[in-house]
């Protein structure tokens, strides 16, 4: 039993450490024109556009970075894109109204079903739904811990972060946070998780051992509606998109004090980061752009026109 879990841990660590060579691309869902824009991250130009399906929102990569997954909400599916050919190779049944998801180290996809107050787990190899887990109203953000043992799901209209144990696929804790929780992210060893609250305008730090809140802080910016979160590779800084605040807030990961505020496009939601943490890519919904942020200078270095209402970003670089 113990040996098995040690072996599993080793296996998981080995698999997450084994990054494939990056393809130096970023992928962006365009919610209102049913496409994914492909950006070359060396030139920061759009090099391709994929017709993906109706109302694409959440976006992510398979653990081997060979496949791109896109939640196409109106079709109730996850579209699977072969990243060599950029073709949609299949669409996996993902329940009603899949909004966002995260991919576990073992390849399973954890999905929030916004209209059904549930999270579903699908195995992309078989396309089968492994489990459906009831959560609060309007589930939104999903994050799998680095070792794959925990999944967090936010429920926007019931103000909770639900903690799911992936061994049992059961909710083990419900943590009440500020109004309309949205984004989630873990630090590198999974000891801390961060959640953003859009209407409450707060960021919360959760200790994943005790499953309790260790810090909550308001973002001191006018019009800020915190959404997506990224944690720097050294775990010292978190980046939070501020929605109608039209910026990325740079916060100290421990104290949540604001270090910088970087103006980007209008109604910014999705946020992607390069592996080395040097650049951020933001989905600026109302502007129809992706902004590229240099984290060394905290400056917006480029604005790239993409499709209508860009929603989510994933970076393979």
């Amino acid at each position: 039993m113990k040996l098995k879990s040690i072996l599993l841990t080793t296996l998981v660590l080995a698999s997450t450490a084994a990054w494939a060579e990056p393809s130096h691309r970023a992928f962006v869902t365009n919610e209102k024109d049913n496409t994914v824009s492909v950006i070359d991250t060396k030139t920061n130009e759009v090099i391709n556009t994929i017709n993906i399906g109706e109302r694409p929102r959440g976006i992510g990569l398979s653990p081997d970075q060979k496949q791109l997954y896109v939640a196409i909400s109106e079709e109730g599916a996850i579209a699977v894109v072969n990243l060599d050919t950029l073709e949609v190779v299949k669409k996996l049944d993902a329940g009603d109204d899949p909004e966002t998801f995260d991919v576990a180290p073992n390849g399973n996809i954890y999905i929030s079903n916004e209209d059904d107050a549930q999270a579903s787990v699908i195995d992309p190899k078989t396309g089968e739904t492994i489990e459906v887990i009831p959560v609060g109203l309007e589930p939104e953000g999903v994050a799998v811990s680095p070792d794959g043992s925990l999944v967090l799901v936010t429920s926007e209209s019931t103000n909770m972060v639900h903690v799911i144990d992936t061994a049992k696929h059961k909710v083990v804790k419900n943590i009440l946070v500020a109004a309309r929780p949205r984004g989630l992210a873990f630090n590198s060893d999974g000891s801390l998780a961060y959640s953003s609250s859009e209407v409450g305008n707060e960021v919360t730090i959760i200790d994943t051992k005790t499953l309790s809140i260790i810090k909550q802080a308001e973002i001191d910016l006018p019009n800020s509606k915190p959404m997506d979160i990224a944690v720097s590779p050294d775990d010292k800084t978190i980046y939070v998109t501020t929605g109608r605040g039209n910026s990325v807030a740079v916060l100290d990961a421990k104290t949540l004090e604001m270090q910088a505020n970087i103006p980007v496009g209008k109604r910014v939601w999705g946020l992607g980061m390069t592996r080395d943490g040097s650049r951020l890519y933001t989905a600026d919904g109302v502007s129809g752009t992706v902004s590229v942020v240099d984290t060394a200078t905290n400056k917006n270095i480029k604005t790239i026109n993409v499709g209508k209402f860009p929603w989510g970003v994933v970076v393979d670089d």
């Binding site: 209209s157 009440l176 109004a179 309309r180």
Partner: protein
């Protein structure tokens, strides 16, 4: 049948782990048909869904004004009222309800705001708020007539569409201003119980007026003025039933406080 039972068990299981579940009974005076009541029921469904995860249950008892007077004070957490302004004022002024949150769910009477009772919480738009919103619109669009509303069944932004979908699915009718008021009152009460872990009326009233940060699924966090009026955006609807704008209109000074009576002073 077995499958249904399975699903029911699945939905109920989180509740089982709470040793100290808080059971909350709210009281309502008003008609039990129509939109206010449907909104209350929608709010209850959602409050109980949240309560399954956090260890609370909620129900609403429909009672008369006379029955409220007979209830022991310790059994009253909050009173929801869907009557006309005259009865509402009588109820809010009852001695035993001095520190009990009394929710106005149905009246736009300015007098209920001007009276500034510390325990009366007005969810609907006041007449003055509607007039101010219309004046802002007409300044810029003198030739196009619109009406002012707290809610609309086509409202999409700020997750309004999700609430509209849930309401229509459960009640087979479209959500109106009155239904939104009923829903909002229950949701802010359940939010208060979940966060304070208390049900006594004085704690409720204090939290609602001072600490509440409520997501009404229509934009910014909603809070109460000292007049007891809920700050909120106003939707402007044209004669073809289309949403044409949200007040406060862009560029108007004062934001949400450009609408209605701001304070008791």
């Amino acid at each position: 049948m077995l499958k249904n039972l399975g699903i029911a068990m699945l939905l109920l299981w989180p509740q089982i782990i709470f040793a100290n579940t808080i059971n909350v009974t709210l009281h309502y005076i008003g008609p039990t048909d129509g939109q206010v009541w449907a909104g209350i029921q929608q709010g209850l469904t959602e409050a109980n869904l949240q309560g399954q995860f956090l260890g609370q249950t909620y129900d609403v008892k429909n009672i008369t004004e006379e029955e409220v007077e007979a209830l022991p004070a310790s059994e009253i957490t909050a009173v929801l009222v869907g009557t006309d302004a005259k009865h509402m004022l009588e109820i809010a002024k009852l001695n035993k309800l001095t520190t009990v949150p009394v929710f106005n769910l149905s009246s736009d009477a300015d007098s209920l705001r001007q009276v500034c009772l510390p325990n009366l919480l007005n969810i609907p738009l006041s007449k003055q708020m509607k007039q101010d919103a219309l004046a802002q619109w007409q300044n810029k669009n003198p030739d196009k007539l619109v009406t002012a509303h707290a809610w609309h069944h086509d409202f999409v932004k700020f997750a309004a569409s999700q609430l509209n979908n849930r309401f229509t699915r459960n009640h087979k009718t479209q959500m109106t201003d009155d239904a939104w008021a009923g829903w909002a009152a229950i949701k802010m009460l359940s939010d208060t119980v979940a966060r304070t872990q208390k049900t006594d009326s004085a704690t409720m009233l204090n939290y609602l007026k001072k600490d509440l940060s409520f997501d009404g699924q229509k934009g910014d966090t909603a809070t109460f003025r000292d007049t007891g009026q809920l700050r909120q955006i106003v939707l402007l609807i044209d004669k073809d039933d289309n949403i044409v704008a949200e007040a406060p209109l862009r560029g108007v000074k004062g934001g949400l406080d450009s609408l209605g009576l701001i304070s008791c002073k």
